[in-house]
């Protein structure tokens, strides 16, 4: 236990800001996962690998001399088609089966993409430089990398755009209809096959955006996808499916919680603290549910 953060309250500002900026990014990845989970009932274990793949697209642009920040435009376009093709070749065979099969299938995809990325880009840890500089507040005592602020803003823009798209567009309505009741949607003339392919594509595109933001804020490595999968899984578990504001809130909350846990409990307990929180929330939920008779079986 360390109480440095209480002795120097300015660290609380720093920790909260770091947590929020981190959480928004995680929330974007989690939103993709929630969407896909809700619509297709698939838990995508390869989520993190899609993120890293998107990151490598930005890194590839960076090595070609293009500013990597443009990755947030290019990467989702390429990733959409990668997601779409993954659906058409593999996922469409497992989407109607039980969840266990789809977990196995996406686990396979995750191993395959890790090895492919290793083969194509090598096993080195790489970074793309944005050279965005730093925002300094309170006389240098709170320093925020502009790259992180940029990534938080981009995440928010994409999330808002997606919500509007889901509400207003024809495909968005079809996706929501399918998620509510797949059979009914089919009877009413929704091409669910097309909806599934688009959903998988949209999820991959969101991962692409997040990946290119990670390329300029953190580091890339073919095998570093798992933390993103786990984190988004947890955010979705806490927020529930199909509830975007909750996803955003739980993403940010988790980010801030993690930073504070780092200061108070120590860095080594940071991730343990997050898992502990998950357990507490699940137990609390169960307790709440058991008080409502209609949920009891």
């Amino acid at each position: 236990m360390d109480f440095l953060i209480f002795k120097a309250p300015i660290l609380m500002v720093q920790a909260s800001m770091d947590g929020i900026l981190l959480g928004v990014l995680f929330a974007l990845v989690a939103y993709g996962m929630a969407l896909q989970w809700g619509v297709m009932n698939i838990i995508n274990i390869a989520q993190g690998e899609l993120v890293i793949m998107g990151g490598y697209i930005a890194y590839f642009m960076y090595t070609a001399g293009i500013p990597p920040a443009f990755g947030v435009i290019v990467s989702p376009i390429i990733m959409y088609f990668i997601g779409w093709s993954l659906y058409k070749t593999i996922i469409n065979r497992v989407v109607e089966r039980d969840m266990f099969i789809s977990i196995l299938a996406t686990f396979g995809i995750s191993i395959l993409t890790q090895q492919l990325m290793n083969f194509v880009f090598g096993a080195d840890v790489v970074v793309a430089q944005s050279n965005f500089g730093t925002t300094m507040l309170f006389d240098y005592s709170v320093t925020l990398p502009n790259a992180k602020i940029f990534s938080a803003l981009v995440s928010i823009v994409f999330a808002v755009a997606l919500v509007l798209y889901m509400k207003k567009s024809k495909l968005g309505r079809a996706i929501r209809a399918t998620s509510q009741n797949q059979r009914a949607a089919k009877i009413l003339g929704v091409d669910t096959e097309k909806v599934y392919a688009a959903t998988f594509g949209i999820n991959a595109a969101l991962c692409g955006v997040a990946g290119s933001l990670i390329a300029i804020t953190f580091t890339l490595h073919p095998y570093i996808g798992l933390p993103y999968t786990v984190r988004s899984f947890m955010i979705v578990i806490i927020a529930g499916l199909g509830n975007l504001p909750a996803v955003a809130l739980s993403g940010i909350g988790l980010g801030v919680f993690e930073e504070f846990a780092d200061y108070i409990l120590g860095t080594e307990f940071r991730i343990a603290a997050v898992f502990l929180l998950l357990v507490v929330i699940l137990v609390y939920r169960r307790f709440k549910l058991s008080r409502k008779r209609e949920y009891l079986k």
Partner: protein
């Protein structure tokens, strides 16, 4: 038809049986060594560096007369398997090399983890292994008799940096911030730093253990900003080094001395350019050291020849791997025999100089004759290079201390 199938099976069985004999330890004028190296998976870059080092050395030794045993010249050959960066697989492959391929002499894999997986197998079969890429201290505390490491142990990596900081502080103890990943290697580096702190009367003000999945050090660095230690020590493989430099520069954290590991493996000066300037890095070897041998000349010669052969400058992982072969050659010649026990005893008595450094093994198989080097990243007009600053005997540049603040860079 059935007979045909049966005869094919029998025939391939025979072929298999004989092929393993054909690979056995010494046949004709060839000495065959075995190695499981990571050619795929997360260690594949350094696995490749290791293999390049081995290959370069056997080509050189074979070209310059080979190994002379009993008045006859023998050539080296290596059977490689890919351990897929997986410890379990590495141990399996070591079994296969020894039991099926009849290998009697082993070369080490890449990384402490893989070496730890293989060592029990070679030990059980009494097969001597010279390894060049397993620095973890625990390899040398288990009483292994057939394991010989040409590199310095992990706890020696950053001790020098603490000594240097104390020296710059007029011999008084310093305040140290530590950020170490939770893996065998980094924790061993930490042991060395903690010992150095106790020895010099220094105080440890931050002690963060980074989880393996972590790629954000913002919290640790904010603590550094608040507590203003004299030295920040980071060890978390290439990911740790690259993350630390990225966030130190982006968060504008000023610290008088920054000491790290894995700077050259992470191509720090290339990937981060001037942001990485003034970082102090521990390395097993640097080309500017003036050690020499008859096969590679000195470090500069090695650097030139390696670059000509593989198109990029040799990281220390390649240099130490090449040195392992020089150790094998000398041991065979001193034993003047192919008997594994005699060769093992000859290995234990090794006391030689190679281009990579002096090599002399302690009872536990650890090389005790070679110091670590510390270099500092220095930039000149956007071009950054690693300059040796310690030990002073080889220093090619003066240590810049304290590191200029970000606003003055």
């Amino acid at each position: 038809m059935r007979n045909l199938k049966l005869s094919i099976v029998l025939l391939s069985g025979f072929l298999l049986a004989f092929s393993s004999i054909a690979f056995a330890k010494v046949k004709g004028d060839t000495i065959t060594l075995g190695a499981a190296v990571s050619l795929t998976g997360k260690y594949s870059t350094n696995g490749k560096n290791t293999k390049n080092g081995y290959d370069m050395a056997i080509n050189r030794i074979n070209k310059l007369g080979g190994v002379i045993v009993g008045g006859k010249s023998y050539k080296f050959k290596i059977i490689y398997y890919d351990d897929e960066s997986n410890g379990g697989r590495a141990a399996q492959l070591a079994e296969r090399l020894i039991k099926q391929d009849g290998i009697k002499y082993m070369l080490g894999p890449y990384s402490s983890g893989m070496t730890k997986a293989i060592a029990p197998v070679t030990e059980e079969n009494k097969i001597p292994m010279v390894e060049a890429n397993g620095a973890s201290r625990s390899l040398f505390t288990k009483g292994y008799k057939y394991l010989f490491a040409v590199l310095s142990a992990a706890n020696q990596y950053l001790e020098v940096a603490i000594d240097l900081a104390v020296e710059k502080n007029g011999g008084k103890g310093v305040r140290i911030a530590m950020a170490f990943e939770q893996d065998a290697f980094s924790q061993d580096v930490k042991i060395g730093v903690v010992e150095a702190a106790q020895r010099t009367g220094s105080e440890i003000v931050i002690d963060d253990n980074l989880p393996k999945e972590l790629n954000d050090m913002a919290a640790t660095l904010s603590k550094v900003k608040a507590l203003k230690p004299d030295v920040l020590v980071v060890s978390g493989h290439t990911k740790g080094a690259l993350t630390a430099i990225r966030q130190l520069s982006e968060m504008r954290v000023n610290v008088p001395m920054l000491a790290m590991t894995h700077c050259d493996a992470g191509k720090l000066s290339k990937q981060h350019g001037e942001k990485a300037e003034y970082a102090l890095c521990a390395a097993q070897w640097h080309k500017s050291l003036t050690y020499e041998d008859n096969y590679f000349g000195n470090g500069m010669d090695y650097d030139r020849d390696y670059t000509a052969e593989y198109g990029s400058a040799p990281p220390y992982q390649s240099a130490e791997s090449s040195a392992a072969l020089l150790v094998w050659k000398a041991a065979f010649e001193r034993a003047n025999s192919f008997d594994t026990e005699k060769v093992r005893d000859a290995l234990a008595k090794t006391d030689m100089q190679t281009f990579y450094g002096n090599i002399k093994f302690s009872n536990t198989g650890q090389n005790i004759a070679k110091p670590m080097v510390l270099f500092q990243v220095r930039c000149d007009g956007g071009k950054c290079a690693n300059k040796v600053v310690a030990p002073t005997k080889w220093a090619s540049a003066k240590l810049v201390h304290p590191v200029p603040t970000w606003s003055n860079r």
